[in-house]
């Protein structure tokens, strides 16, 4: 039973991170390689708001979430907007530079010291006993719930709301969408905002469950294979890809060798790319464009 809980928690972590990769790619064809760094920024924002507003933890969390969204919008407005019309490769390189800059900035602002936002909020993270004597931490349970809510909201948003439909249209054919009067910059800015919001949310919850330090950026990178396995332009694919990677990782830790857990996401990725290069649920034509 504990094994199943471990798989669900890890899958939820990967899914929450990888949906941000998918959102940006789906709308603008850009691989955001600064996603891990944006996770880190989100977590540090929570640490800062928690330190400032320790007496009002809910306000601190809400403020950090809003700031995370704003950071994403700012990244687009100040940086990625200038990449519009340029080669996709240039935009991807731009995100790499952004990542390097954010890593440096976080050390300058918050130092490299390990931080504990949970302590700053004055909360605790008790262990919940489930059936079959399995256990889960409260924050891990919240993370699973948050992932479910985020995916449900994203499916609803993209499928039924005006801005969601505009986002899909911009992703499918930006020129046509633009000619039909869709404000592409607004759509892209919203996609960056939402992607950074989900990345920040993942960063906040991971740091609340354990701690916060610069290695979080590498966790962001570990979720990248999950998005690729599922198909970079498919939200459902990101969910399935995350589940596949999590199952492989946890089973290898339990039954084979924990060391293999580090390479298995990339092994699964290679296996999927050989059979179906556009991912399990990705669109073939999207890959051709890349």
């Amino acid at each position: 039973m504990q094994l199943a809980v471990n798989i669900v928690v890890l899958a939820a972590i990967y899914a929450l991170i990888s949906c941000g990769y998918v959102l940006i790619y789906r709308v603008s064809r850009v691989l955001n390689l600064a996603h891990g760094e944006l996770m880190l920024v989100g977590a540090y924002l929570l640490y800062s708001t928690a330190s400032l507003l320790g007496g009002n933890p809910l306000t601190a969390v809400a403020m950090a979430a809003v700031l995370g969204l704003l950071v994403g919008v700012l990244v687009y407005v100040l940086l990625m907007r200038r990449m519009t019309g340029e080669m996709v490769l240039a935009a991807v390189l731009c995100t790499i530079a952004l990542g390097v800059m954010l890593r440096g900035a976080t050390v300058l602002i918050w130092s490299a010291q390990v931080r504990h936002p949970m302590e700053a909020l004055g909360w605790s993270n008790p262990s919940l006993v489930l059936f079959g004597d399995a256990r889960i931490s409260l924050i891990s349970a919240i993370l699973i719930g948050a992932t479910a809510v985020v995916y449900a909201a994203l499916f609803g948003f993209l499928g039924f709301t005006r801005w969601g439909i505009r986002m899909r249209a911009a992703g499918q054919n930006p020129l046509l969408a633009s000619q039909r009067g869709i404000q592409l910059h607004g759509v892209y800015a919203l996609a960056w905002g939402l992607s950074t919001f989900t990345a920040g949310l993942a960063g906040m919850l991971i740091s609340l469950d354990s701690s916060l330090d610069g290695t979080m950026t590498m966790i962001g990178l570990k979720a990248f294979p999950a998005a690729l396995v599922g198909g970079l332009d498919s939200l459902a694919g990101a969910l399935i890809g995350s589940a596949i990677i999590a199952i492989a990782e946890v089973l290898l830790i339990q039954f084979v060798n924990p060391l293999l857990s580090d390479v298995v996401p990339f092994f699964v990725l290679l296996a999927v790319l050989v059979i179906r290069p556009w991912g399990l649920f990705g669109s073939k034509e999207e890959l051709d464009r890349v």
């Binding site: 390990v114 262990s127 290695t215 590498m218 924990p258 857990s261």
Partner: protein, 389 residues
């Protein structure tokens, strides 16, 4: 060129040449470390502490009435950058000594550059085999707390002493060479002492969730766990074990954040083995560090500063024994006959000879969290010692 610019150019030239002019009258020492990058949490405080020590030293009049000029470079824990730093120190800055505060993967390229330039190199955290007796590398020295040869056996010996019941030992390490080496030596010692090693978890660096590793470990039912890894891995593993309801005893190798985390966790079954005296011992030297840190605007807590402070003490003594004008050869000669009293930060003085660039005895102090006193207390009254042969 208009004459009106002459004063400006003169001023700029003065500013540009000032460090060089200053350096001519100073002991010039290079400090390269992971000030940023994934491992900065461990190494940046050491750099900050060395700088703090040197600032204090200069404020007191320097060494032999000369200032110490520290040239600081950030290698981000990357071997290529560390090599470039060493090259710059030697070719541009004319340093007489290089101090490294970085991950072990930067050691080989730095040592190669130091060898090319004939400059002594001092490590401040993990001590490589090149510094151990009987035939250390002639240019490499170490003030760091960790000894791959002794940490594991000493930790396991402590567990044996503490246990009345048969020990079922779990071992935790990170997938990096030194950590795995210590875990292997701990496992061997445990077996030789009649313990049962029930599981060994080698955890890869950055892991989003430590619970799967902790689950595997818990399922082996250890009553003791010995952890030897970067602190983040050690502490996240024990936290994951506790969330799973494991109530056994956990001994971890202490690093800079350990003291603060023991206070945060308040875990009565958490033990730490440290080569440095904790600040909870409240020695006069701890007060000295606290006072110095209080006057400076530091990014890290005072509990993170011991290893850098010790490196500063060693640097001061080495330079004291180096007559003016200093050369790398003179520094090397001074370092080959060095004895530094660490004022209790370590169990005994650091002593270097031509055949031993580590120390003649390695000392360990054991601590635990006392739930009744709500404080960190020694888990063993005296320092435990081992001869370094």
């Amino acid at each position: 060129m208009p004459r009106k610019y002459a004063p400006l150019i003169a001023a700029l030239l003065t500013i540009a040449l000032a460090p060089g002019v200053m350096a001519q009258d100073a002991y010039v020492v290079g400090l390269s470390g992971a000030l940023t990058g994934p491992q900065a949490g461990t190494y940046a405080p050491i750099m900050e502490s060395v700088k703090l020590y040197v600032d204090q030293l200069n404020r007191r009049g320097g060494v032999n009435a000369r200032p110490v000029h520290l040239v600081v470079q950030d290698n981000q824990g990357e071997p290529s950058k560390a090599a470039a730093d060493a090259k710059k120190f030697i070719s541009q800055d004319n340093v007489i000594l290089i101090i490294s505060a970085s991950v072990s993967s930067t050691y080989a390229p730095m040592a190669a550059e130091a060898k090319r330039g004939g400059i002594p190199l001092v490590y401040t955290m993990v001590c490589p085999t090149a510094v151990f007796p009987p035939k250390p590398d002639e240019l490499q020295f170490c003030t760091g707390p960790s000894s791959g040869n002794h940490d594991g056996p000493m930790g396991v010996q402590f567990i044996k002493e503490q246990s009345r019941d048969p020990v079922r030992l779990g071992v935790v390490a990170m997938a990096i060479p030194l950590s795995r080496g210590v875990a292997d030596s701990a496992e061997e010692t445990a077996k030789s002492l009649g313990m049962t090693v029930v599981d060994k978890q080698i955890i890869p660096p950055p892991t989003p969730d430590y619970t799967p590793y902790a689950s595997k470990l818990k399922s082996a039912e250890p009553n003791w766990v010995y952890a030897t890894a970067p602190w983040v891995t050690e502490v996240k593993t024990v936290e994951a074990l506790r969330k799973l309801g494991w109530n056994g005893k956990y001994l971890a190798i202490a690093l800079a954040p350990t003291e603060d985390d023991m206070v945060r966790l308040k875990d009565g079954e958490l033990y730490a083995v440290s080569a440095n005296a904790f600040f909870h011992d409240d020695l006069p030297v701890h007060k000295e560090i606290r006072d110095a840190a209080g006057k400076a605007n530091l990014a890290y807590p005072v509990t993170h500063l011991a290893d850098g402070w010790i490196a500063g003490m060693v640097l001061e003594q080495a330079l004291k024994n180096t007559s003016w004008p200093p050369t790398a050869e003179k520094v090397l000669a001074a370092m080959n006959g060095l004895k530094v009293d660490t004022k209790g930060l370590r169990g005994k003085p650091i002593e270097w000879t031509k055949t031993n660039h580590f120390r003649t005895e390695q000392y360990y102090r054991f601590y635990r969290w006392d739930s009744a006193k709500q404080s960190i207390v020694p888990a063993k009254e005296n320092w435990a010692t081992v001869d370094v042969k």
